[in-house]
Symmetry: C2
Subunit: 146 residues, 2 copies
């Protein structure tokens, strides 16, 4: 039997979160945290609604997942996020020691790679999963805002 | 008359926050946010108590200051912190567009400068304010923990 729990499967859930952000007028970024093929945290960007630059999808997902697990480290967890993390979120992911990070669209301006920040050396990174869909949602958002 | 509102004056308040963290068994880092010589946010590291790697002093101070101001940008604010920010906190400070960051002790291992992360190009950075006192508190904490 084919494994349905692919990276695409979980990225779709992150993209669904991004769509909720879009509908709220937030920059459409969504994230989920998964352990043993189970989603234990889901979140989307809320910087406008909360008036808080730290309220990125990833930050909320890290806090929620740690809360669920009862410990602050996200070993054996995978974080799926529709956009490449910024240096703040990469720094938080670094501290969390998350096992794997999967992101959809790259961010050539404010992504952690461009800014010079680092994920944990033990964290596996996969990028480009559902890249077109994730990037298209961002593009539509910024076109509408102009 | 001499201006009492020096960087040392406000760093002492951040150091007081760090001492509270110390007493709670947290890595002793404290922060305050100041606007027009008025402290509008104070916080200390709570990663252990909250089981949350994102609960650094600076992150809480940024959220609290934005809440106080009713807007997410910290223009015209200065953040005082006893230890050099990590890449997560530097990234959050970047997004906040804070006017000035003053830190006490440097962090040669996980500080944002070593890790390659960046503050906002418009942010003024001052370091080494009450460096010895800030570093001594950290040293005592880690000696006790061994």
């Amino acid at each position: 039997m084919e494994n349905i729990f692919t990276d695409e499967y979980f990225m779709k859930k992150a993209l669904h979160e991004a769509e909720i952000a879009f509908e709220k007028g937030e920059i459409p970024v969504g994230a989920v945290v998964v352990i043993d093929n189970r989603v234990i945290a889901r979140s989307h960007n809320l910087t406008e609604l909360l008036n808080d630059v730290t309220a990125h999808a990833e930050m909320q997902a890290i806090t929620a997942a740690a809360n669920f697990l009862g410990g602050k480290y996200l070993k054996d967890c995978t974080l799926y996020v529709t956009l490449e993390p910024c240096q703040m979120c990469a720094g938080a992911l670094y501290w969390s020691q998350v096992s794997k990070v999967v992101f959809g669209a790259g961010d050539d301006h404010r992504g952690y790679r461009k800014m010079g920040a680092q994920l944990h050396p033990k964290t596996i990174v996969v990028n480009g999963v559902m890249e077109n869909e994730c990037a298209a949602l961002m593009k539509t958002f910024f076109q509408k805002r102009r």
